[in-house]
Subunit: 337 residues, 4 copies
Amino acid sequence: MIITLKPDTTQKGIEHVVEKIKELGFAPHISKGAKRTIIGVIGENPIRYRSVFEAMFIVESVVPISRPYKLVSREFKKENTKFKVGGVEIGGKKVVVMAGPCAVENRDLILEVAKEVKGAGAKVLRGGAFKPRTSPYSFQGLGKEGLKLLAEVSRITGLPVVTEAMDPRQVEVVSEYAHIIQIGARNMQNFDLLREVGRGKCPVLLKRGIASTVKELLMSAEYILSGGNYNLILCERGIRTFEDSTRFTLDLSAIPLIKKLTHLPVLVDPSHGTGMRDLVVPMSRAAIAAGSDGLIVEVHPRPEEALSDGLQALPPQDFRHLMQEIKAVATALGRES
Amino acid sequence: MIITLKPDTTQKGIEHVVEKIKELGFAPHISKGAKRTIIGVIGENPIRYRSVFEAMFIVESVVPISRPYKLVSREFKKENTKFKVGGVEIGGKKVVVMAGPCAVENRDLILEVAKEVKGAGAKVLRGGAFKPRTSPYSFQGLGKEGLKLLAEVSRITGLPVVTEAMDPRQVEVVSEYAHIIQIGARNMQNFDLLREVGRGKCPVLLKRGIASTVKELLMSAEYILSGGNYNLILCERGIRTFEDSTRFTLDLSAIPLIKKLTHLPVLVDPSHGTGMRDLVVPMSRAAIAAGSDGLIVEVHPRPEEALSDGLQALPPQDFRHLMQEIKAVATALGRES
Amino acid sequence: MIITLKPDTTQKGIEHVVEKIKELGFAPHISKGAKRTIIGVIGENPIRYRSVFEAMFIVESVVPISRPYKLVSREFKKENTKFKVGGVEIGGKKVVVMAGPCAVENRDLILEVAKEVKGAGAKVLRGGAFKPRTSPYSFQGLGKEGLKLLAEVSRITGLPVVTEAMDPRQVEVVSEYAHIIQIGARNMQNFDLLREVGRGKCPVLLKRGIASTVKELLMSAEYILSGGNYNLILCERGIRTFEDSTRFTLDLSAIPLIKKLTHLPVLVDPSHGTGMRDLVVPMSRAAIAAGSDGLIVEVHPRPEEALSDGLQALPPQDFRHLMQEIKAVATALGRES
Amino acid sequence: MIITLKPDTTQKGIEHVVEKIKELGFAPHISKGAKRTIIGVIGENPIRYRSVFEAMFIVESVVPISRPYKLVSREFKKENTKFKVGGVEIGGKKVVVMAGPCAVENRDLILEVAKEVKGAGAKVLRGGAFKPRTSPYSFQGLGKEGLKLLAEVSRITGLPVVTEAMDPRQVEVVSEYAHIIQIGARNMQNFDLLREVGRGKCPVLLKRGIASTVKELLMSAEYILSGGNYNLILCERGIRTFEDSTRFTLDLSAIPLIKKLTHLPVLVDPSHGTGMRDLVVPMSRAAIAAGSDGLIVEVHPRPEEALSDGLQALPPQDFRHLMQEIKAVATALGRES
């Protein structure tokens, strides 16, 4: 059960509700957002006490929620969540494409790609400064230097930037330079990291783990919303299966499922999700047709020279083709791009 | 390496080529189609003897094929395979929708559904007479009686019929009553069944096994083509993964992958592939956007009464909605429906 | 609910019970064994009519069974099933090892291997005459000729023989020459084949499908027992997962799980289950320690020359080592070998 | 290629080797252990310059390593790694059992369990103070308070303690109170956490991720060894598959595979790996038979009251039975317990 308090509720008012919840034998879970305080009531069937709380003057609404995830569920919020990042609306009628190289390799490259993808219609620049790599001997990213380059290119091109934080200690600096913090698939259940971005205000892009169910993705999202940060975007990026022709199996059925269960916007990453350049365009079309709110795509001017993941990056001309194709699909289905 | 002989080659001519192949230390694999005889040359690097065969008068062409599947590969045949079944072109510009109930339950039901799906734009009627069921105590289908009902309804509505054979001994009778023989996912590696349909002329719809790679699907397809039957349609119907919100994980990336590797037409089954009615329409849109040549969909007038798989069957009004949606996507991408 | 009739029940008596079952609105499922007739009562909560049947003179017992599989469940039969094949007890205190080459290649080879494995302590000879192969161009087995060789070698060595049938039409001939019919993993849900072996009396070894749950294995086993054939051995042989260092992931936890849920004997196939020679001995030890009733192992005198699956076959000296190792484990746990 | 320098090499000597590596176009990767400095030479085929380095006086050995993991590979170190933690040898002839409750709930409980498991023969106490939980609303562990309780109980019983760190910022405090830091399955690819424990001296227990291959586990292990910490234990704890009767699929074939590829000790966690109490004892036997160096097992005096994972915890009497069973298996195979 979720109790939403009125916007002007005082600390004393909050404590009053909390006391009542404890008195009835439940655990209160307080989440202070920018405008309202929301209190989750955790325990066995709390809804039988609904009227107790509805009778309180400072309570705006009481919503029963049967699912294990509360704040992220459609039961809690019926309408789609939309918010703006650097002037770009996420979760609205327009599908949003985020594009850029896997890793920020140097200033020239990131600037070149940013101009290319902006020209083709991308609205957000992606690029990794902190790179999670399977091997300790692989290129690990430029770190803070990479963040500075992203911020500079963002100023030049006007594109907001999404980039990954891997460690709770990186969240502050990433928030400073970037517009959206990405939590990568390997960290979907790095709960301390989730709590850290949940405490902040910077919008978050949370990728599904390669062996995580949709329900687990939503539970991880709940960590972030219950920390007070509601600006969350989910992302399907492929799961691990027995099929070995593709690098992962892109689970597009997760898109309508997520849309059914939650109010949050959701993107698809066809680059990591397939690992094969030839499949990126058709799977991008399919993602939009399945109801995705956008894409996050790897683009590199010379994929064969990329320091990581070159096999799946699109060269600019293929990316322009991708943008035309998804425009056709989006338009046919009453969306825009 | 594949040797294609000229249309008028005699048995003696064939034997001559076969002898030469054996003499050089290779295994010949003869496949007699309606028009031409094709001989696969199996062994270590046969292409070094290419000129030996090209010099023969009766040889039309010699094609080197590096992949383990030969006749199904794009290397063997560059252009897409198209063929007509009961007046309906499969693999052409138009996306083809096959629809109907999971099982043929009785005459009234199958006739009612056939009229509904035809009205909505379906081109082929599906329905199971022989049903593979996990439990020996579940409804096992009407058998031959079901085939007769399908044939009767086909005559009334003009819709060709696709239905499953599970046992090599059923192939003859299914061919007699149906227009397309379906090989179900559980039988994708039932090699005797594959050989049996490969020896016939009835078009075949081969579903991917739930734990089969795309490469294994193509190897099973090779069994059918190498038997002489080239009228084959492949079908993606979901694979088994750890995700338990959906019944299977529909692997749409298999579609562009199959299109890249082979010349055969491919369909998607969003009903079995998701097991959830709410996901059938969005995943149908996504399938077409990914490049599928069509769909095979379960429709039931009263899904809650269905003798099998009711949770995933669409009621007629939802099916009409599906047809409109995929028309929009198909048109946007330069196809028709 | 399962009704077991007394040994001397007449056809008329059976019909009387069946009529009563139908009258009460349930579906009877008759299974005539060598000694007794058993009638499954399928439907909604039949146990409320238990006393109706217990009151009948010809009824020996009435057992409520909550699981979807009936005859294979521990609820139906508490004690372990044991039976003899060619003088060898399966499911008893002794762990039984079946060994031999993947395929019967020729008389000399199969005779050589049979003598080797017998000398090392194997009790049953394995070898494939009909081989399910992914590619139509691979060696498909010697067929009936291979069966004859197996039978001859069985006569010479005294070892009973287990070999695979892939097609319902092969069941008769395999039963004639072999002592145990193997149903391979690809055919675990080939329901017509299951029915065919269920109608016979030849003991059956049923392998788990590579993407089948333990519950589905038991449902397939139910097809065989409900046909009247109770001499069934189950076999774990690895499932398909994302791990690619091993060919399959041998799921040993299936062994104690199967032992808990059913009364049937169960073996482990460490050769196919790992696909790596180096892992066969340790996984054989582990299988016995997990409670397996035995093993089925591939042995080849010159694995590098094997026509199929050479990478996983053990040379004779390694097989002798395996037999010593499992003897140590079996003895330590109160079994014998 | 790995260059090991002599024990007494000066900083200047190290720099000399590093310069040479760079001059030849390779990347040096320095790892300073307690006794020796090891330098990985990363790049294309460095072994062709082997003699250049072997000729240097300060170089002890040069080892070519073809695998992507270097320091963890058997190619680098042939003999098994053994080390002592609080007087207990890990990786030696004796199999080591670590046992305790899933979470440290309170002082009484952890003390009670510690005495029980010590009495039964366990050598290390396990218990979670920082708990990674799927839901933000579940019990999250006692944190530092839990660490203090573990340390106190360790002093009382003499058992060294293993407990988890989830966040790089927790590593210091966990090292202070515990004897072994556990990295949980969800954090196997939390690379900043791996680097943090790699920089320390506290022994580490690294669990395999639920969707990680054995190769990826070894790459993560390489992060820790290349940081200079060689006291590492690996742990198989089940992978995620389609099978839903067990919570995970315990991949015991990983044990002999890890033993073949690496010199590190490896344990099995049969509690998380199966999620079913009834399977813990047989799978523990199987783990030892497969070659595991020990177990990590959940024990709780009243499993039905446990704050987390009660379904899989063993009550003390079952744990005593487990210890007897694995003693029998270990002894039979020439090990001790």
